[in-house]
Amino acid sequence: MTGPADTAGPEARPAGGLSPEALAQARELVALYPEPRSALVPLCHLVQAEHGWLTPQAMVEVADLIGVTPAEVLGTASFYDMLHTEPVGKYVIGVCTNIACLLNGGIELLEHAEERLGTRAGATTADNLFTLEEVECIALCDKAPCLTVNWRFFGPLTHDGFDALVEDLAAGRLEGEVPRHGILNRVRREGGLRVAREEVLAERAASDQALEQRKAAREAVEKREQAQQGQGGKQGGKGSA
């Protein structure tokens, strides 16, 4: 089964794996880190941009890219709430019920969402359009009660406002505002690192040396001044009137 989140034609993406463009971006990401494994989470985000969730095939590809086993990818990814190990709907709606939202009707909004979508939090609608989640504080507390759709923020929302939002989403009226899954796919890093590691080390050694020299020189001056002060008695100390 492939992710139901795909909006482009099926020919555009391989069954469950990374597309050639995503693979190219993945290689760039791996090259940014001193250790390839650091790219694990970013690569998972790339996979989700394509499929909405972490397909088994993609996890194998991620594992190969960073030199770990697929089990390690799964074992790490399962720690993170944003990384889905099961298929999700086209739109993942996360309603916040944490303290600021709770005080402003967040739990009631979640209950309304469950009723309106006909699904419980944590599940996907039968038409694969919506996955509903209860989320922790999304740092939009001044817009409580609030929610995210594919990590685009909306709030404060009345129950009617929620219904209108769902209708707009279902009718495809918010495609620009709410892109499909993924958080790294709209802005790409331009180029890789500019400073080679060997250069850094050489530069650092040189600057550390210079620093030491300057410090030694300064200390010598200070010592001399202290010696002079010691002879001339205490002058203009901090506490002098």
Binding site: A77, F79, I99, C141, D142, R194, L211
Partner: protein, 434 residues
Amino acid sequence: MITDAAPIVTARLRQHADSHTLERYLATGGYRALRKALSMHPEDVAAEVSKASLLGRGGAGFPAGRKWSMLRPNPVRYLTVNGDESEPATFKDHLLIECDPHQILEGSLITAYAIGAAQVFIYVRGEFALGLERMQSALNEAYRYGAVGRDIFGSGFSVDVVVHPGAGAYICGDETGLLESLEGKRGFPRIKPPYYPAAMGLYGEPTVVNNVETMSNIPWIVLHGGDAFASLGEGSSTGTRLFALSGHVRRPGNYEVEMAKTTFSDLIHAPVYGQGLRAGRTLKAFIPGGASSPWFGPELVDLPLSQDEVAKHSSMLGSGSVVVMDDTTCAVRAAWRITRFFARESCGQCTPCRVGSGWLEKIMRRIEDGAGREEDLDLLLDVCDNISPELVWPPQQTTICPLGPSIPPSIYSAIRMFRDEFLVHIKDGACPYA
């Protein structure tokens, strides 16, 4: 002083809708501080920050200058900027990341220079999709402009910056959890000692971890001097600080105020800030510094927003978020929801935190649902005591990271302040506010 002036970190974003662009940043004096810093000796840059006595804005309030000075000498050093902001009711870094990413970047570059780091990682909470886009765009612009990369502005100093996304885990906000996450692992906090970031941080190398707002203050400090910064505020609370005000106020939002010169009451009631409670409502309690901090009652509303003053009353300014609860609030429900947050976000490494948080959540839930027993109150406090002995402030820690001791405050605050309300739930077998 109750004014709308935003002297430091929010000045630009409040005046300009395009404050996130390089064009606007340069037009409003951006990257001047970096040029100035690069003309100074790194140690002198660090000295200015020490003079400013800038306290970390991530929650622990540790002086930034002192943190930098603790870095183990080593050819490779890293700077990691903490933009994971997930403390409930905290939403200031979200604003800074989306609306002034260049300011964060400039502060980070200056810091990298001051501490001799050749690589910077800006860890941005994964949920901040727009923030990640803005941060990466700003970085792309800065590379093109020559503020990042090789031989910055011809100074001979070189540094690379990587914007790294999180993926939804509160515990990755803890500095060592963050470093684990940045290494591509589960965000399990590390045991200290030996894993103090300054000694053994990212990939085992000495690392400074600083908050996004902390970094945002650096350019101003370099331009105006540490003394100018230290002249704002009072005591150890210098400069300005962003407070995220939420809950039952008319105008929730982020407000930058001079430290120690403004009170909680000003923040809640002043026309330029929260504009008070809704009509006919009275203040029941407020949380002074994020979900991890002990609550205050209305009698403490005139306390100044000062780290020392709040500590004197056994709480903290923490992450700078103030949650207002009016008289319609059920204290049991509020404390239960906060407890459930910690129960969900506990990483599970330490038994008192993993098991204790689950128990506490269940007991709180059954009281709220009307199925509680009177003995539950003692049981709650007993379990809390096992996580953080004596329930004193500052809390004692039996766990690897401070998340564990962050669980009890909302529970013991609610019990100490609103014991009657718990008893009504238990006696009536229902929530009186439902």
